[in-house]
C-alpha cells in the first residue's frame, strides 16, 4: 500500500521548510549567476581590486580591535577578583545595543570640527572607522571568550604555572589555543557584520564590496551586476565559512570542564591599574561616551521631541521585532531538534546553509524578495500581492527570517550540543514520543538558550536598517529608519532621541538576559 507517512517524513518536511524560506535567494542567484555581462566585466576591470583591498583592510582592522577589546577583559573578568567586577562584566556587553551606524554617526560628529573638541585633523579615515566598528562589534568576541574562559578557567592555568609557564605564556600557549573554536565563531560574526555594513562605510568614503553592490544596483542601474557581485561575495563568505568549520572540526580539543567553579585569583597590586584600564576603556569608548553624547543632544533639543511619534515608532519597532523573533525561535528549534533526532547528513547541510543567511547583505535579501514576489504576481494574473500593507509587512518579516535565523540558531545549537546523547536514548527507551521528548527533556534543559536566542534576535531586528528601509509598508517607520533619516539629513542631534530609545530597550534586554543566565549559572562564575 502507498504509504503517505513515508513521503511526508520528517526529512522532506525539513527540506521543504528550508526551501520555502530560502527559495527567493536561490532563485535570485540561479537566475543571474551564469550571465557574465558588460557591467560585471567593467567592474572587474576597474573596481574589483579597490573594493577587495578596502574590504580586506577594514575587516582586518575591525577584527583586530574587536579581539583586543573582547579577549583581554574576558580573561580578567573570568579569572580575577576585583572591585566592581560584576558590574563591569555586565557593562562590557552593553555596546551590543548600539547599532554600527549610530556609533559611526555619533563619533563622526564628536570628532568633527563642529563637535565639542573642534578637531581640525581629518579623522574620517578607514583606520578610525575600523576602530569605531569594533566598538559595537567586540561584544560578539567578548561573550564567546567569556563563556569559553570560564568553562575551563583556572585549572589549566594552575597546571601550566606548575609546569613553569609565566601567567602571560600560560594564557598565550594554553588558554588561547583551547578557546580558538569559540573565538573564531565570534570573529566570524564580526566579519559578517563588517561585510554587511553600508551606512558608515559610505559616510567615511571607504569603498567596500557592499558599496560596489549598491553602486551597480543604484547608480549604474544594473540589478544583475549587483546580484552577481553579491553572489561572488556570498561564495567568498561560504568559502571562509567552510574553511572555518573544517579547521575547527579538525582542531577540536577535548578538554574537561572544571569540575568546580573556577576560583578567582586576586590581582597583584602592580597589575590592578592595567586590569581596570583594559576593562574600562571599551566600556567608556563604546558605551558611555555615545550614550552621554546622545543624552546631551536630547536635552539640547528637548523642545523638538515629538512624543506621540516617538511612542508610535517604538510600538512599531517592538511589534515587528517581537513577531519576527518568536517566529525565528520556533523555526530554529524546529530545524535543530530535527537534526538532533536523526543522524541524516541532510539536516547538517540544511543547518549550515541557514547559518549562511546571516552573511547575505540585508539589501540583497530585500531585493531578492521583491524580485521573487513580483514574479509570482506576474505569473498568476489574478493574484495581486504587492501593494497592500499586510503583504509588505509579511515580506518584511520574511526577510528578517532569512537573515536572522542564524542568530537565533547559534545559542540553541551550542546548548543542544552540550546535552548528552544518553538523555535522548533513555527517553526513547522509556517510550516518549518526539513531542514528549521535547516537552519533558529539551525544553527544561535548554530553556536558557531559547530565551537567549529570543533576546539576541529581538535586539538585532530592532537595530536592523537596510531591509527595513527597503521593504517597510507605507507610513510604517521604525526607530531605526527614523534615526537614519535624520542622520543622513545631517540632523544628528534630532535623531538622538530615536537612537536613545533603541539603545535603552536593547540595553535593558541585555541586562535582563545577563541576570537570568547568571542566576541559572549558565556562565558558571
Amino acid at each position: 500500500m502507498f504509504n503517505f507517512r513515508h513521503i511526508f517524513n520528517r526529512e522532506s518536511l525539513v527540506v521543504c521548510v528550508f526551501l520555502i524560506l530560502f527559495f527567493p535567494i536561490i532563485f535570485l542567484i540561479s537566475s543571474t549567476f551564469f550571465n557574465y555581462n558588460d557591467s560585471l566585466a567593467y567592474i572587474f576591470e576597474n573596481l574589483i581590486f579597490d573594493y577587495s583591498v578596502n574590504t580586506l583592510y577594514l575587516v582586518i582592522i575591525t577584527s583586530l580591535f574587536s579581539l583586543v577589546f573582547g579577549i583581554i577583559p574576558a580573561w580578567y573578568i573570568s579569572n580575577y577578583r576585583f572591585k566592581g567586577r560584576k558590574l563591569i562584566d555586565l557593562a562590557l556587553y552593553l555596546p551590543l545595543s548600539i547599532p554600527t551606524y549610530i556609533m559611526a554617526f555619533t563619533y563622526s560628529e564628536i570628532l568633527s570640527f563642529t563637535g565639542p573638541f573642534r578637531i581640525k585633523a581629518d579623522l574620517l579615515q578607514i583606520e578610525i572607522l575600523g576602530i569605531i566598528l569594533a566598538f559595537s562589534l567586540y561584544p560578539y568576541i567578548y561573550s564567546v571568550s567569556r563563556i569559553s574562559f570560564s568553562l575551563f578557567g583556572s585549572k589549566y592555568i594552575d597546571i601550566s604555572k606548575n609546569l613553569g609557564l609565566s601567567g602571560f605564556k600560560a594564557f598565550y600557549k594554553v588558554v588561547l589555543p583551547l578557546s580558538r573554536p569559540a573565538i573564531f565563531s565570534g570573529l566570524f560574526l564580526v566579519i559578517m557584520e563588517v561585510l554587511n555594513e553600508y551606512g558608515a562605510v559610505k559616510y567615511f568614503g571607504v569603498n567596500t564590496y557592499t558599496i560596489g553592490i549598491f553602486r551597480s544596483w543604484n547608480s549604474m542601474n544594473d540589478t544583475e551586476a549587483a546580484i552577481q557581485l553579491s553572489s561572488i561575495l556570498l561564495f567568498i563568505v561560504m568559502f571562509l565559512f567552510f574553511i572555518e568549520r573544517f579547521f575547527i572540526q579538525n582542531k577540536r580539543y577535548s578538554f574537561t570542564e572544571n569540575s568546580k567553579i573556577s576560583l578567582l585569583s586576586n590581582i597583584s597590586s602592580k597589575r590592578v591599574v592595567w586590569v581596570y584600564l583594559s576593562c574600562l576603556i571599551p566600556i567608556l569608548l563604546a558605551f558611555i561616551i555615545p550614550v552621554l553624547f546622545n543624552l546631551y543632544n536630547i536635552f539640547d533639543n528637548v523642545d523638538r521631541i515629538e512624543l506621540k511619534r516617538l511612542l508610535h515608532l517604538t510600538f512599531n519597532s517592538v511589534t515587528v521585532s517581537l513577531i519576527s523573533s518568536f517566529l525565528i525561535l520556533i523555526l530554529a528549534i524546529f530545524f535543530l531538534f530535527s537534526e538532533k533526532l536523526s543522524k541524516s547528513r541532510i539536516y547538517y547541510y540544511v543547518n549550515q546553509f541557514i547559518s549562511l543567511g546571516y552573511s547575505i547583505p540585508g539589501a540583497v535579501v530585500a531585493l531578492a524578495l521583491i524580485v521573487f514576489i513580483n514574479s509570482i504576481d506576474q505569473s498568476i494574473s489574478s493574484v495581486n500581492l504587492l501593494g497592500t500593507f499586510l503583504v509588505y509587512f509579511f515580506i518584511l518579516i520574511y526577510a528578517y527570517l532569512i537573515r536572522f535565523l542564524a542568530v537565533g540558531k547559534s545559542p540553541i545549537k551550542s546548548s543542544f550540543d552540550k546535552q548528552p546523547e544518553t538523555y535522548d536514548l533513555s527517553a526513547k527507551t522509556l517510550g516518549l514520543n518526539n513531542f514528549k521528548l521535547f516537552e519533558k527533556i529539551y525544553l527544561p534543559i535548554n530553556k536558557y538558550s531559547f530565551f537567549a536566542a529570543l533576546i539576541l534576535v529581538f535586539i538585532d531586528i530592532m537595530k536592523e536598517l537596510p531591509i527595513t528601509l527597503i521593504l517597510r509598508p507605507f507610513n510604517f517607520d521604525t526607530l531605526a529608519t527614523q534615526t537614519y533619516e535624520f542622520a543622513v539629513e545631517e540632523m544628528i542631534p534630532i535623531s538622538s532621541i530615536y537612537s536613545f530609545v533603541i539603545i535603552s530597550i536593547c540595553s535593558i534586554l541585555l541586562i535582563i538576559l545577563k541576570n537570568y543566565l547568571d542566576k541559572n549559572n549558565v556562565f558558571r562564575s
Partner: protein
C-alpha cells in the same frame, strides 16, 4: 431592527458604488527627506482632507520597487532631488504625463520638463564655496578651472557615489564631451585636499578646519549651516563665501538640479495627486519651501529666502535637465577611470 440594518447596508452599497475607485488619500514614494515636506503635506491635508502617505528611500530603490510592483503599485507620485532620476523613471516607462494648466502656469518655463513627465517644485545650484582667509573671489571662475594646477591640494568634495556629483559630472559630459571631461576629472582628482568622504556640510567644515580651501557643495547647505542653532555650525558657515561658477559673458552658467514630482503610470489617485502638485507649486507652499529648506523656488513669483538672496542672482546652465539622466552611466565611468573615489 432588520429593516434598519437593510437600509444601512443599502446606503453603504450606494456610497461604495458611487466611489470612483479613488480613495481620499495619496501615496508618495519619496527620496526627499526634508522636514519641510512633512509640513507641506500636513498643510495640504488640513486644507483638503486628503491624507498623504509617504514612503521614503533612495531614489533608485524606489524606482526598482515601482518597476517590480508594476500595475499593482499603490504609489501615485514619485519625488526625488535629481532630474536624472526622473528621466530614468520616465525612460523605464514608469510615469504618465501630467496635464494641468495651473501647474504649468505656476512654475518657471525654463525648469519645465520638455517631455512633460515631471514637475519641478524647487531647484538648487551646485556651487563653489571658498575660504574667506585663503582664497580671493577673483581667483575663481569656472568648474573647468578647478583642474588647474594652482589648486593642488586645496579642493574638497564628497564621493562619486553621491547623486549630486554624478549629476554635475553628467552636465559637464553633456556640455564638454568625453575627452575634455576625463582630462578635467583627472586634474581635479590631482587637486583633492583629501580622499572624498563625508557629506556636503562636512566639506564646508573641512574648510573651516583648514583642511582645504575650496569645496563643491549644494547651495542650500550653506543656508542650513548659517541658520543652524549650533554656534559651531554658524561659525563654519561664516568662514566661507559663496561663488557661482561659469557666470562670464560667454559662459553657460552654474549647474542646477531640480526637486521634482512624477506621476506613476497607474496612479490610483490621479485627481488628488494633481491637486497636491497644484498646491505645492502655489505661492503659499513655495514660500514654505524657500524659508525652510533654503532651496530656490520653482514658482517665479516667489523670492528665495533672505540668506539665499544675499548671495545675489546668478545665470543658470540651461542644459536640458533630462540629459543628467542620459549621461549618468558615462559620468560614473569617468569617475572610475580617473580615480575619483
Amino acid at each position: 431592527m432588520k429593516n434598519y440594518l437593510i437600509s444601512i447596508l443599502s446606503v453603504l452599497c450606494i456610497v461604495y458604488s458611487c466611489d470612483t475607485n479613488e480613495s481620499n488619500e495619496i501615496n508618495i514614494y519619496s527620496q526627499r527627506h526634508y522636514e519641510v515636506d512633512k509640513k507641506q503635506y500636513e498643510n495640504f491635508e488640513q486644507k483638503t482632507g486628503i491624507k498623504v502617505n509617504v514612503i521614503k528611500a533612495n531614489a533608485d530603490e524606489l524606482l526598482e520597487r515601482l518597476k517590480n510592483e508594476g500595475a499593482n503599485s499603490p504609489a501615485d507620485l514619485f519625488v526625488t532631488v535629481d532630474a536624472g532620476k526622473l528621466q530614468k523613471g520616465a525612460e523605464m516607462g514608469l510615469f504618465q504625463k501630467i496635464n494641468s494648466d495651473e501647474i504649468n502656469n505656476n512654475v518657471s518655463k525654463e525648469l519645465i520638463d520638455k517631455n512633460g513627465y515631471w514637475i519641478p517644485i524647487t531647484y538648487r545650484a551646485r556651487i563653489l564655496v571658498y575660504s574667506n582667509d585663503r582664497v580671493m573671489a577673483s581667483e575663481l571662475s569656472t568648474y573647468e578651472d578647478l583642474a588647474d594646477e594652482k589648486w593642488k591640494g586645496r579642493i574638497l568634495v564628497r564621493s562619486s557615489s553621491n547623486a549630486y556629483n554624478q549629476a554635475l559630472m553628467s552636465s559637464l559630459y553633456a556640455n564638454l564631451g568625453q575627452e575634455t571631461v576625463e582630462k578635467w576629472s583627472s586634474g581635479i582628482v590631482n587637486n583633492f585636499a583629501r580622499d572624498p568622504k563625508g557629506n556636503d556640510r562636512d566639506q564646508v567644515k573641512a574648510i573651516a578646519a583648514g583642511q582645504g580651501d575650496i569645496a563643491i557643495v549644494n547651495s542650500y547647505y550653506i543656508g542650513l549651516l548659517l541658520s543652524s542653532e549650533k554656534q559651531q555650525e554658524v561659525d563654519a558657515g561664516n568662514s566661507v563665501s559663496v561663488f557661482f561658477p561659469n557666470q562670464g559673458e560667454n559662459e553657460r552658467g552654474s549647474h542646477i538640479n531640480i526637486s521634482g514630482f512624477a506621476m506613476t503610470k497607474n496612479a490610483p489617485n490621479k485627481q488628488n495627486s494633481i491637486k497636491l502638485l497644484e498646491y505645492l507649486t502655489s505661492v503659499e507652499a513655495q514660500e514654505t519651501y524657500v524659508n525652510n529648506s533654503y532651496e530656490y523656488p520653482a514658482n517665479p513669483l516667489v523670492m528665495p529666502s533672505e540668506i539665499v538672496q544675499s548671495w545675489g542672482e546668478f545665470k543658470i546652465d540651461e542644459l536640458d535637465l533630462n540629459k543628467l539622466g542620459t549621461y549618468r552611466n558615462e559620468a560614473i565611468k569617468v569617475f572610475d577611470k580617473t580615480g575619483w573615489k
